[in-house]
């Protein structure tokens, strides 16, 4: 049985014991159940409309990890060998290589932009720039490979036409892709004024397969 289910059953058993012993009136129990149900229904709505992170009921009952104790990672992990893609990315980001990087989904990151390379430009969205005018979409991850992977995911989803809005402006195609989960937040002057609302969309600008820019976005 999943750990979260065990925790929930233990919580219910505790409440039943309290009712039986008379320490918790039945109407209070009913009230608690109604409140929990209302919270369950309202939580996703509040997260979406207010742009704030609210814990699920699992979080409130102290259920943090879904990983069984027996499956927990050993403290000393073997050193992971870097993938060729990571090497290529590092050459561009750290060593200033101007080579074109092709992502697993087929997006081409070429030299260009004020950052000198589109991959560097993408990584400028790994950190907030609170004094940048307007919105500045910031990815939750700061790891180049993870950010490239999220953009790839958005690109692949855009190709399927699922939960995507497509705009064309000359040679450019602009996808607004709903990834249906938090991928970052809105920073910049505007985002910081609104307490950095969560973003679950990616706005991706391409010319054919050539990557121009991508960032977390709230339509």
């Amino acid at each position: 049985m999943r750990r979260s289910n065990q925790q929930t059953i233990r919580l219910i058993q505790g409440l039943v014991r309290l009712v039986r012993s008379g320490r918790l009136p039945v109407r209070w129990l009913v009230g608690l159940v109604v409140l929990a149900a209302a919270y369950l229904l309202m939580q996703p709505l509040l997260v979406r409309s207010l742009g704030i992170d609210l814990p699920g009921l699992g979080d409130l009952t102290g259920i943090v990890s879904e990983t069984p104790a027996t499956e927990q990672q050993p403290t000393e992990q073997p050193k992971q060998k870097k993938s060729p893609a990571a090497d290529e990315i590092n050459q561009i980001l750290r060593d200033g290589s101007q080579q074109t990087y092709e992502s697993p989904a087929g997006l081409l990151y070429r030299r260009g932009s004020q950052h000198g390379h589109r991959l560097k430009h993408l990584m400028a969205h790994a950190k907030d720039q609170p004094d940048r005018p307007g919105q500045h979409g910031v990815f939750d991850s700061e790891q180049p490979e993870e950010i490239v992977a999220v953009v790839d995911e958005a690109y692949r989803q855009a190709q399927t036409g699922k939960k995507v809005q497509v705009e064309r402006e000359g040679e450019r195609t602009v996808y607004t892709v709903d990834l249906n989960r938090r991928v970052g937040f809105i920073g910049g002057e505007s985002g910081n004024r609104r307490n950095r609302p969560a973003a679950r969309h990616i706005r991706l600008v391409v010319e054919d397969r050539n990557f121009i820019t991508a960032f977390p976005y709230r339509p």
């Binding site: 980001l93 400028a124 950190k127």
Partner: protein, 116 residues
Amino acid sequence: MSAKQTMYYVGFCRVCKTGPLGLRRCGQCENVVLLCDECDATWSNADLAAPPQYAKDGELPCPKCKASLVESPSHWATAEQLQEIDWLQEAINGGLLELKQGIAFTPDAADESSPP
């Protein structure tokens, strides 16, 4: 990290919907264009309904003299330099554009966020 650059801008890019439209001055011919700080779309004047120009093969050439708008000595125009731009002053006086001052997208942000 380089110092933050001040940039005058006149609104936001309709293509990427996020980049401020900064006033960029060509280092060679001193022409001033509207350049999206995010996606590099460029407009030669206040007609933002016109199709923008885009970077080609990684280069962002000045529409007038073809020198690079990214490389030095091209730069974000200063307030004094903007006073000399007729089309801009006309658009501001006519209420078509509103001039604001902000901080440009920091090119070094990528270096800060890349792993050691």
